[in-house]
């Protein structure tokens, strides 16, 4: 397998983050976000690359990666559609919205479509309770989703 390499731009970013906070370890979360942007997930290999770049033991990098849900340990599609199905959202039909996404895309929860474009996940409260049902697609929130809204959103992502 080819060895993973961080692009120069990412290396510079991580080195700056290491100096930005009171302790070097505080740069772990920002560095993991950066690595996930580059590699798509945080695999054991990515952990090793970061550990080397940051001069922090791999076990420390890994424990932080494992603790937080936003770091993907398994591959996700180019568009990661995350639907909150916690209490407020569930009451206004978000679980049906989540199933609708799966059905329209033709994929099960937490799977990746064959073309690598989509993953649909049910997630916990995203602080969008008054504008539910909602979906977070990568960094962006899409709120007040109706069936029509789901169709339009998927068209935009194609």
């Amino acid at each position: 397998m080819e060895k993973l390499k961080l692009p120069e731009k990412s290396k510079t970013y991580i080195q700056n983050e290491l100096k930005r906070y009171e302790t070097r370890e505080s740069a772990l979360i920002p560095a993991l976000f950066e690595a996930q942007k580059v590699f798509g997930l945080i695999s054991p290999e990515v952990v090793d690359v970061l550990a080397m770049e940051m001069d922090i033991p791999p076990s420390r990098v890994n424990e932080v990666a494992q603790f937080y849900t936003m770091f993907n340990k398994t591959p996700v599609g180019k568009y990661h559609i995350q639907i909150c199905t916690n209490i407020s959202c569930a009451m206004v039909g978000a679980r049906e919205t989540a199933e609708m996404f799966c059905k329209k895309i033709g994929v099960g929860f937490d799977e990746v479509t064959a073309d690598g474009r989509f993953t649909v996940s049910k997630v916990e409260c995203l602080g969008s309770c008054g504008t539910a049902p909602m979906a977070q697609v990568n960094d962006d929130y899409h709120e007040n989703l109706t069936e029509d809204g789901v169709v339009k959103l998927l068209e935009k992502l194609k």
Binding site: R20, Y21, E22, T23, R24, E25, S26, A27, L28, I29, P30, L32, F33, E63, V64, F67, Y68, T69, M70, F71, T85, N86, I87, S88, A90, M91, V92, G93, R95, E96, E124, C125, L126, G127, S128, C129, G130, T131, A132, Q136, D139, D140, Y141
Partner: protein
């Protein structure tokens, strides 16, 4: 009626920018504060009666006064890790008025003699993160942050830090662990953060809304703030409201506002075809109230406590008659099980059992005595752990069972749901 103290100018276009904020009186509190003695600011905040708006409702001025009297560096952390299900007011406040929070932070930092502060914002809040980041840059440019702020001799640096998805990080000691680059796990108190917090230095952690309220209090005075609310619940509170109502959203009303009026006026009443059934007044960790209890209640710390629940974060979750309480409790237990950090056995194991039991009751695979078992497991989880997550999972269970027991028993006996709605807890789901 809404009483917009903090949200007064939120509808003005551009209020999230420095220019927009200054146009409507922004940064006058800072100018005032820098001319005051730090201890006088603490006294003013104490006198205002302001209580922490993140959930615990502890006196803000009192929290500040717990800082030891020494020369150690102090830190101020703004808790913007809003994750309590049903709560979204901090997101709203950061998106629409980041400078109000930043101004409150600089004033507070001056009061507690802190030279460095952080806004810790949950990772999913990417848009508010970008808005806050930009607002901080603007504040530096205008001389409100950095060295010798407005010629006062006070230096202060503020940075924003992005979390990565963990409900428990909203607990202040866990937030500190996370900011230090560790797993976001809570620590035993004492020592409290005010004595030993970030990097083991004295640290104050305050919620977004609390810090925004400091700005208002310094502008208008403690006495003006006390004019609203009650003796023990002073001022206004910003609520996030969700459920099948006509106008879900963020509202600011005086403390002690009657819930009935709030539901009818601010929330626009129930959506057509839905009846009001129950209320979770302050985010998912607060015990549930029946409609009858809720309609007689007022939204303040004392009244909620007298009803055996809490005002919490002000995450008002309105439950309608189409909802099955078994289903909703199962949704919540799935959440707490997922979010337990795993340090303490009663929580790590207990939340798992709560999820399993509510799930099997929903599917009709339980026996009637499982209702008692569920209650027992929950009660054994209270007061036995490092932080409050275990209690936060147990409290809803005990209250759901004491007030809606018939729905649980119906699921077990009839192997289907009593409520005509869309219960996902049933076997076919």
């Amino acid at each position: 009626m809404e009483n917009r103290l903090l949200l007064k100018h939120y509808n003005e276009p551009g209020y999230h920018t420095l220019d927009g904020y200054v146009k409507f009186g922004g940064y006058t509190a800072l100018k005032k504060a820098l001319k005051m003695k730090p201890e006088d600011i603490i006294t003013e905040v104490k006198n205002s009666g302001l209580r922490g708006r993140g959930g615990a409702g502890f006196s803000t001025g009192m929290k500040w006064s717990f800082l030891p009297n020494n020369n150690e560096p102090r830190y101020l952390l703004c808790n913007a890790d809003e994750g309590e299900p049903g709560t979204f007011k901090d997101r709203y406040m950061m998106e629409l008025a980041p400078h109000q929070v930043i101004e409150g932070m600089i004033c507070s930092a001056f009061a507690i003699k802190s030279k460095k502060s952080y806004i810790y914002i949950r990772g999913e809040y990417y848009k508010p993160y970008k808005i806050v980041e930009k607002a901080i840059q603007e504040a530096y440019k205008a001389g409100f942050l950095g060295k010798n702020i407005l010629g006062s001799g006070f230096d202060h640096d503020l940075d924003v830090y992005r979390g990565a998805g963990a409900y428990i990080v909203g607990e202040e000691t866990a937030l500190i662990s996370s900011l230090e680059g560790k797993k976001g796990q809570p620590k035993l108190k004492p020592p409290f953060p005010a004595v030993q917090g970030y990097l083991r230095k004295p640290t104050i952690v305050n919620n977004v809304e609390t810090l925004a309220a400091v700005t208002w209090i310094l502008n208008n005075g403690a006495a003006a703030y006390r004019k609203f609310g009650t003796e023990k619940s002073t001022g206004t509170k910003v609520y996030s409201v969700s459920g099948n109502i006509n106008k879900p959203g963020v509202y600011e009303v005086d403390l002690a506002y009657p819930f009935k009026d709030f539901l009818e006026n601010e929330c626009g009443g129930m959506k057509e075809g839905f009846k009001f059934k129950a209320l979770i007044p302050g985010g998912s960790s607060c015990p549930v109230l029946t409609a009858e209890e809720a309609l007689k209640s007022t939204l303040d710390y004392e009244n909620m406590a007298s009803l055996g629940t809490m005002l919490g974060s002000g995450g008002v979750i309105i439950i309608d008659d189409k909802q099955c309480m078994v289903d909703l409790l199962n949704v919540l237990m799935h959440f707490y099980h997922h979010e337990s950090c795993g340090q303490c056995t009663p929580c790590r194991e207990g939340t798992g059992w709560l999820e399993k039991l509510t799930s099997s009751i929903g599917k009709g695979k339980s026996q009637l005595d499982d209702v008692a078992t569920l209650d027992k497991v929950a009660r054994h989880m209270m007061g036995t752990t490092i932080c409050a997550l275990s209690d936060a999972a147990a409290l809803p269970v005990v209250s759901f069972l004491s007030k809606f027991k018939d729905e649980f028993e119906y699921h077990i006996r009839e192997k289907r749901c009593k409520v005509k709605g869309n219960c996902h807890a049933q076997a076919h789901h």
